[in-house]
């Protein structure tokens, strides 16, 4: 017995010795902040920076926000703790209309077919969060991402004034003077809040999407886009300049994101313009209705009918290629009640070619000034449009196919506009690469696969 044990033990010990001979991690990969001082980092931006996703601001979205993810990497080069205006950890969340976040669930449509669809997580959103102050004078927020924040809102004192109907509740809850009594003193702007008690040493600025998005989401019917010209608070360009000036005067470096073509987002691209599928009977009856107007329908795929005041005497026409239907369109009406065919889609659900041109030109104009002043003030530029259009073309990231496809594409959240955590991580890498390039830093990028995308039931 003893005789048999000896070789066994020696074999085992040989095994242990050889297993322990592992390749060593090369310590030569140095992490460096380059020319930036990340110590007091502040992320400035809209819903993407705040972590608004699935059409709500909620806890898990916030901790996977662009701002939080950027700061997590910047902590490797000296950034401080992340302080953000966190929502309740039950992850109900809320949007401005007090609705909870969206989750993917089963829904029976008007035809009786059961399928996966975004549904509200709870009957009601976390409305009380919006009326409770989360301001703390000790732990100043490092994330000034505010859902709905426009470039032109940065210096607005109305933005956090709860006495005004147009105030932003997401900002009011984090502002330092949330509890001002009505009429007792002024309300601070976002910018005053950021600079309160000392300037940051480094910033990320990702503003401008909200200067066009509400207009696009209304089908270009309301919420006009911020004009380029005008005083700070009114015009995009001057609002940007005054922010850059302040940072420049305090020697604050920053990375500034350019604005993607928002009309490439799934909210605008999921429903095809020619998704009207007709059988012989329906095609024939539509031909009888629209024949006199000169529109004809065929069996199979046809363009949806839309309202367009400029389209002849009746203000109705079929869509043309390139025009977009918004995800806000009532899909059951389309499927079961001839909405989009017998009854044309209303203007608020559609972006026509002319409207798209207007929106895209405005984004180009914004980006031009963002690039111009970022270069002028020596700030790094994160070209996020390249990332977003990359999603539209589709790309592979560490063996995972990513695209802008709604739900299955893996990058967007269920609202079709904001990115999910994985998408935010990939976007944060765009900012990190920009910082590394401009400021000669070597901050590691994020392994985006460590962040979730969409949960399937």
């Amino acid at each position: 017995m003893v005789k048999n044990i000896f070789p066994l033990i020696s074999l085992l010990s040989i095994g242990i010795i050889f297993s322990s001979c592992k390749p060593k991690i090369d310590a030569s990969s140095v992490i460096s902040a380059g020319e930036i001082n990340a110590q007091h980092f502040v992320a400035i931006g809209d819903g993407t920076t705040a972590g608004y996703m699935d059409d709500a601001l909620y806890h898990d979205g916030q901790i996977n926000s662009l701002g939080a993810l950027l700061q997590t990497q910047l902590k490797l080069v000296g950034a401080g703790e992340i302080y953000m205006p966190l929502m309740g950890n039950a992850n109900v969340g809320t949007n401005a209309n007090l609705l909870s976040r969206l989750i993917l669930g089963y829904k029976t449509d008007c035809l009786g077919a059961i399928g996966l669809s975004p549904l509200r997580f709870a009957q009601q959103g976390e409305g009380s969060s919006l009326t409770t102050s989360v301001y703390s004078s000790q732990n100043k927020f490092t994330n000034f991402g505010v859902p709905g924040l426009r470039m032109i809102d940065m210096v607005s004192t109305a933005f956090g004034n709860i006495n005004l109907p147009q105030h932003n509740a997401f900002f009011a809850r984090m502002s330092k003077d949330q509890f001002n009594l009505p009429g007792s003193g002024a309300y601070s702007s976002v910018q005053e809040n950021i600079f309160d008690g000392g300037y940051p040493t480094f910033c990320s600025i990702y503003l401008g999407i909200e200067d066009v998005l509400p207009y696009a989401r209304s089908g270009a019917t309301q919420n006009p886009m911020s004009p380029l010209a005008g005083f700070p608070g009114l015009g995009f360009e001057e609002s940007l300049i005054q922010l850059c000036e302040q940072l420049y005067n305090q020697n604050v470096k920053a990375v500034v994101g350019t604005i993607p073509d928002i009309t490439q987002m799934p909210y605008f691209t999921t429903i095809p313009y020619n998704g009207l599928n007709l059988d012989a009977t329906n095609a024939e009856s539509l031909n009888q209705i629209y024949g006199p107007l000169g529109f004809s329908f065929t069996i199979g795929s046809n363009a949806f009918m839309i309202e367009d005041p400029n389209a002849g005497a009746f203000g109705v026409r079929p869509m043309v290629e390139g025009e977009l239907i918004l995800l806000s369109v009532p899909l059951d009406s389309v499927k079961c009640h001839q909405y989009g065919s017998v009854y044309p889609l209303r203007d608020e659900f559609v972006l026509t070619l002319a409207e798209l041109q207007e929106i895209r030109n405005q984004i180009l104009a914004y980006n031009q000034v963002i690039r111009q002043y970022s270069n002028f003030y020596g700030l790094a530029i994160a070209e996020t449009p390249d990332f977003y259009s990359g999603l539209n073309d589709g790309f592979v990231y560490n063996g995972v196919s990513m695209s802008a496809k709604f739900v299955s594409g893996g990058a967007y959240s269920l609202d079709g506009i904001h990115l999910n955590p994985k998408g935010n991580a990939l976007l944060a890498n765009v900012f990190i690469r920009a910082i590394n390039k401009k400021y000669k830093a070597t901050i590691p990028q994020i392994n985006a696969l460590n962040y979730p995308s969409i949960y399937f039931p």
Binding site: G15, F18, P23, I25, Y106, N429, I446, L449, P452
Partner: protein, 429 residues
């Protein structure tokens, strides 16, 4: 001969070598000498290395051996600096040989070789960055090779055998789909594979000191016909990922070897082998699912391996040799010279080699993080008496490869360290 050795060291200087998922552990004596020995019949493992040389062994013998592979891979992601390791199980290449002759010094010999010249199991740690390309791959192939060898003259022997290869493949990876708890989906493809081929060799005793051997082992196409694919995905997507059957195939390349052995004197022998490996057959790895859906389509992944060479060499030195007094142990050696078998013999071996990776830039995958490689080996042999003996060997290599895979965009540096201690026992009569 000198030219050959100069060539050998010239290539060594360029630090070239590697061999996909080929495993060159088929005989402890050869392993001790840098895995070379095509022109040097030492024992029944020549049935594999060169059946033509086996006829110059005047013995019946059986060998059983194995070489546990302790391999560790470290992957450093170039974008995030993240470090990930493998925790692969210990590899278990083994070999069993039996060689028989009707009577002493017979011209015809029969043998059977059972070994594992291809295969690997690689398992990455949980949550590693390439998990959606691969989490675990286990390839196994057992070659069974019945062999005949014939001595045409005192100087020339030929031999050949059919190879039946039985194997299995098990490939697992995560799918980037999360369930309601955030757990990622998983796919497992498992199947049995079978293939056939042959092994043919010629041995030439050029003169008393120099032997030449040529061996050709054919390509073997391992076909998986009724593989089973198992998905674990969220319930809402189970119709998109139906469990079912798949077909696939994996080609094992041909190996053409030219070897030489130089017996400098009674106690010092040098060997050198050059392998030409037909890796070009591994062009595409495809999986054909019996049932396709909108989410599950057949896959074709380019591998684009190229044909390569490997250069191996080593030496054997007789450290100790003593003879028994009886004269009954006289045998005819491979030189057809009657000599005595030593009663006790201690042999010391060492060697090394280098090979060019068949994997081109842009095609390095987690399943075979291959690179040009140099390796070193040492070995010991000892016979307890006229009939039984033991051989030991130790193989070491460290390889490093930085690449960005074209298909998966996995980008980083793989470093592999492998220690492979081997042991075999023989019995001859």
């Amino acid at each position: 001969m000198r030219v050959l050795f100069q060539l050998f060291f010239l290539f060594l200087a360029h630090n070239l070598i590697a061999q996909g998922f080929q495993v060159n552990f088929q005989g402890q004596k050869q392993q001790g000498m840098g895995c070379a020995g095509t022109a040097l019949p030492r024992d029944a493992s020549s049935l594999f290395y060169n059946p033509g040389s086996a006829v110059f062994l005047n013995e019946n013998s059986v060998i059983v051996g194995g070489t546990p592979v302790f391999a560790n891979v470290l992957f450093i992601d170039s974008a995030s600096n993240g470090a990930y390791r493998t925790n692969s199980p210990i590899g278990t290449p083994f070999s069993v040989y039996g060689m028989f002759q009707a009577k002493s010094s017979a011209k015809l010999k029969f043998g059977i070789a059972i070994n594992t010249p291809f295969g690997s199991t690689i398992q990455y740690e949980d949550g590693w960055i390439g998990r959606f390309a691969l989490t675990r791959l286990s390839l196994k192939a057992i070659f069974i090779q019945p062999t005949f060898a014939y001595r045409i003259s005192d100087n020339i022997g030929i031999g050949g055998g059919f190879v039946i290869s039985k194997g299995s493949v098990n490939l697992q990876k995560d799918l980037p789909i999360q369930d309601a708890n955030g757990v990622y989906s998983h796919a497992e493809l498992a199947g049995k594979a079978i293939g056939i081929g042959y092994n043919f060799g010629i041995h030439l005793n050029a003169n008393k000191k120099l032997n030449i051997g040529i061996d050709y082992r054919s390509k073997i196409n391992m076909k998986v016909n009724d593989g089973e694919v198992t998905f674990s995905v969220p319930n809402s997507l189970s119709a998109n990922f139906p469990n079912g059957n798949f077909t696939s195939s994996l080609p094992l390349p041909s190996v053409l070897t030219l070897g030489a052995a130089l017996k400098l004197n009674r106690s010092l022998t040098f060997v050198v082998d050059v392998n030409a490996v037909g890796w070009k057959v591994y062009d595409t790895l495809s999986f054909d699912y019996k049932q396709n859906t909108s989410s599950l389509s057949d896959t074709k992944s380019a591998r684009c391996y190229k044909n390569t060479f490997a250069f191996r060499g080593g030496m054997e030195w007789v450290a100790l040799r003593c003879y028994s007094k009886s004269a009954s142990n006289e045998i005819m050696t491979e030189d057809a010279v009657v000599t005595k078998i030593p009663l006790h013999e201690l042999l010391v071996r060492c060697g090394g080699g280098f090979g060019i990776s068949p994997v081109q830039n842009g095609y390095v995958t987690p399943e075979t993080p291959d690179a040009n490689r140099a390796y070193g080996t040492i070995g010991l042999g000892y016979n307890f008496n006229l009939k039984t003996g033991i051989d030991l060997s130790l193989y070491y290599t460290k390889i490093k490869r930085a690449d960005t895979n074209i298909e998966t965009q996995i980008s980083g540096t793989y470093t592999t360290i492998a220690w492979c201690p081997g042991i075999s026992f023989y019995y001859r009569w």
